[in-house]
C-alpha cells in the first residue's frame, strides 16, 4: 500500500503537558489513497496526535514529515465561533480559499446541506455544522483529509451516508484520509489501517487484525466481532459519550496488568499501563 512516499508521517512522537505524558512514542503515516483510522478511549490522545501531526501543538520528541506544499483539508473536533461574528455558510466555505458559487453548491450538495448556503452559521444544528465543515474540507480537493470525529451529532442514517461519502471521495480524488473515530464499527470496512491508541499504540494493522487483537478487545469488548458486516447493527448509542469507556474498560481496569502483544506490532516494552482514569 505504501509504495509512494507518505503525505504525512510522524515518527516516535511524544507529547507531554503539565508533566503528564499524553503521547508516548507514537508513529503513524498516511499515503495517498489510504484511509487510516485512529481509535481509542476518551483521553487516549487521538485528538492530540492529530494536532501534533498538523503542527498545532509542540511535540516533546519525534519528527513529523509533511509532503511539500501538501494540500490539506482539516475538520476539527469542534468549532466554537463567537456569535458576534456574522458569517454565512457560503462565506465559511471560502475561509481558506476562494471558490466559485457552483463549486460551493456542489461541495455542500455532496454532504447534503446545499440548501443552507445562505444561512447564518449560528442557526445551524450541530449535525448540519459538521456537514458544512466536511464540505469545506472537500471543496479544497485535498491530497490529505484530516478528520477528527467528523460525523458527531449527525443522525444515524446521515452518519452512514457521510462515511460512505468519505470513502467515495477517497476513490474519486485518490487522497489520503486520516480519521479519528471513537466508533470503530462505522469505519471498519473502509479503513486500510487502524491504529488503536491509548497514549501509546496498543495495536495497529488491518481492521480485521486489530479487531481480533486482545488489546482491542480489552478496550472495546468483543462486540466488534459481531458487527463486521458492512455498516451493521450497532450496540450502544451514539450520543452516549461515556459508552465506550464505561462497560468494557471498567471490567478490566483493576485487573491484571496486560501487555500489548498485537500481532504485527512491537510494543512489548509496555508492561501494565494504566487505563484507569
Amino acid at each position: 500500500m505504501t509504495h509512494s512516499d507518505p503525505l504525512l508521517a510522524g515518527t516516535d512522537i511524544s507529547v507531554r503537558a503539565d508533566g503528564k505524558t499524553l503521547l508516548d512514542n507514537v508513529s503513524v503515516s498516511v499515503s495517498a489513497n489510504e484511509i487510516v483510522t485512529i481509535i481509542g478511549p476518551n483521553g487516549g490522545g487521538k485528538t492530540t496526535l492529530l494536532k501534533a501531526l498538523l503542527g498545532l501543538l509542540p511535540i516533546a520528541s519525534g519528527t513529523v514529515k509533511r509532503k511539500k506544499k501538501l494540500n490539506l483539508g482539516y475538520v476539527p473536533q469542534k468549532l466554537v465561533i463567537d456569535r458576534t461574528l456574522p458569517l454565512t455558510v457560503k462565506r465559511l466555505m471560502q475561509l481558506t480559499g476562494r471558490y466559485s458559487h457552483d463549486r460551493i453548491i456542489a461541495a455542500l450538495g455532496e454532504t447534503g446541506v446545499a440548501h443552507k448556503i445562505n444561512d447564518n452559521i449560528h442557526s445551524l444544528s450541530g449535525g448540519e455544522m459538521q456537514r458544512v465543515l466536511l464540505a469545506r474540507a472537500i471543496i479544497r480537493k485535498p491530497e490529505l483529509m484530516v478528520l477528527d470525529e467528523p460525523v458527531q451529532g449527525v443522525d444515524y442514517l446521515g452518519e452512514i451516508a457521510l462515511y460512505q461519502l468519505i470513502e467515495t471521495i477517497r476513490n474519486k480524488y485518490n487522497c489520503g484520509i486520516l480519521l479519528v473515530s471513537h466508533d470503530l464499527h462505522m469505519v471498519m470496512r473502509a479503513s486500510n489501517r487502524v491504529i488503536c491508541l491509548n497514549t501509546h499504540v496498543c495495536c495497529s494493522g488491518q481492521p480485521t487484525v486489530v479487531e481480533q487483537s486482545p488489546d482491542y478487545q480489552r478496550l472495546f469488548g468483543t462486540r466488534g466481532l459481531q458487527t463486521m458486516a458492512p455498516y451493521g447493527h450497532r450496540h450502544g448509542h451514539f450520543h452516549d459519550v461515556d459508552q465506550e469507556e464505561s462497560a468494557p474498560l471498567a471490567a478490566t481496569a483493576g485487573g491484571e496488568p496486560h501487555s500489548c502483544t498485537a500481532d504485527h506490532h512491537h510494543h512489548e516494552d509496555h508492561e501494565g499501563h494504566h487505563h484507569a482514569r
Partner: protein, 268 residues
C-alpha cells in the same frame, strides 16, 4: 481649514474612527475586549517612560503596549490562572505603576486627567499627520492580512493546518492594536480608547451579514460617534473624550432599537 481647532479635532477623531472600527471588530470577534483594555491602560506607563527618557510619547506607548501584549502571551502558557484574571492583574498593575511614576516626576507638571481622558481639542497639525499616516499603515496592513486574520479568528487550528500564516497574522494584529492605542492616546486617553474599538463594532453587529460589512459599518459608526461627540462637547462645553464615548453609546442604543425593524424589513 486646519487653523480651526475644532476642525482639527474633527479630522483627528474621524481618522482614528476609520481605523478603530474595523480593528475593533476583530477584538470583539476574538473576545479580546479586556485584552485591549489592558494594553491601553499600560499606555499610561508608556507615557511615564517616554517622559523619563525624553522620547515622543508615541514611542513609549507603542513599546509598552507591545511589551504587555507579549507578556500576556507568555503568562497565558502558565495555565494556572485564567486569562481574564491575568488581564485584570496586569491592567491595573500597569495603570497604577504608570500613575505612581508620573507622581514621582514632580518637576514635570503633567495633567493626569488629559492622559486618562485625552485632549482632542489641543491636537496639532503634526498630530493629524501622525493619525492619518498611522491610519493608512494600519488599514493597509489589516487589508493585507485580512484573510489569514479572519480565518484564524474563526478557527486558528483550521487556518494553520491548511497552511495560512496565522502566526504572522496574529502578531500583526497585536502590533496594530498597539499602534492604534499609541495614536489614539492623545485623542481620547488611556481609559477610553477601548470604547472606540468595541462600541462601534457592537453597534455594527446588529445589521451586518458578513464580516466585511460589519467592519465597514463599524468604521462608519465610529466616525458618526466622533462627529456626534465633538458637537455635543461644543454645545454643552463638556469634556470631548467622554463625549465621544457617549456618542458611541447613544448610537449603540439606537442600533439596538432599530435592528429588529431592519430585520423585519429584510425578511419581508
Amino acid at each position: 481649514m486646519l487653523d480651526d481647532f475644532f476642525m482639527r479635532a474633527l479630522l483627528g477623531g474621524i481618522g482614528i474612527a476609520l481605523v478603530s472600527g474595523p480593528l475593533g471588530c476583530f477584538i470583539v470577534w476574538r473576545r479580546m475586549a479586556y485584552f485591549g483594555e489592558t494594553m491601553s491602560h499600560a499606555a499610561l506607563l508608556g507615557i511615564a517612560l517616554s517622559l523619563m527618557m525624553d522620547l515622543l510619547p508615541f514611542w513609549g506607548v507603542f513599546a509598552i503596549s507591545i511589551a504587555i501584549a507579549l507578556a500576556l502571551y507568555g503568562l497565558e502558557k502558565l495555565d494556572r490562572l485564567s486569562s481574564d484574571t491575568l488581564l485584570g492583574i496586569l491592567s491595573h498593575a500597569s495603570l497604577s505603576i504608570g500613575l505612581i511614576s508620573l507622581g514621582f516626576m514632580a518637576w514635570l507638571r503633567v495633567d493626569v486627567m488629559t492622559l486618562l481622558f485625552g485632549d482632542i481639542l489641543s491636537i496639532t497639525r503634526g498630530d493629524l499627520a501622525l493619525i492619518w499616516g498611522g491610519g493608512v499603515v494600519v488599514l493597509g496592513l489589516l487589508l493585507l492580512h485580512w484573510q489569514s486574520l479572519l480565518a484564524a479568528t474563526v478557527s486558528n487550528d483550521i487556518a494553520s493546518a491548511e497552511g495560512l500564516p496565522t502566526r504572522r497574522a496574529n502578531l500583526v494584529f497585536i502590533l496594530l492594536i498597539a499602534l492604534v492605542i499609541a495614536v489614539a492616546m492623545k485623542l481620547i486617553g488611556a481609559l477610553l480608547i477601548t470604547s472606540l474599538l468595541i462600541i462601534p463594532a457592537a453597534s455594527a453587529r446588529q445589521f451586518a451579514r458578513s464580516p466585511e460589512a460589519m467592519a465597514i459599518l463599524a468604521a462608519f459608526m465610529a466616525c458618526l460617534a466622533a462627529i456626534l461627540g465633538l458637537n455635543m462637547s461644543l454645545l454643552w462645553d463638556s469634556n470631548p473624550g467622554p463625549s465621544i464615548v457617549l456618542g458611541a453609546f447613544l448610537l449603540f442604543l439606537l442600533s439596538l432599537a432599530v435592528a429588529p425593524l431592519a430585520r423585519a424589513l429584510r425578511t419581508r
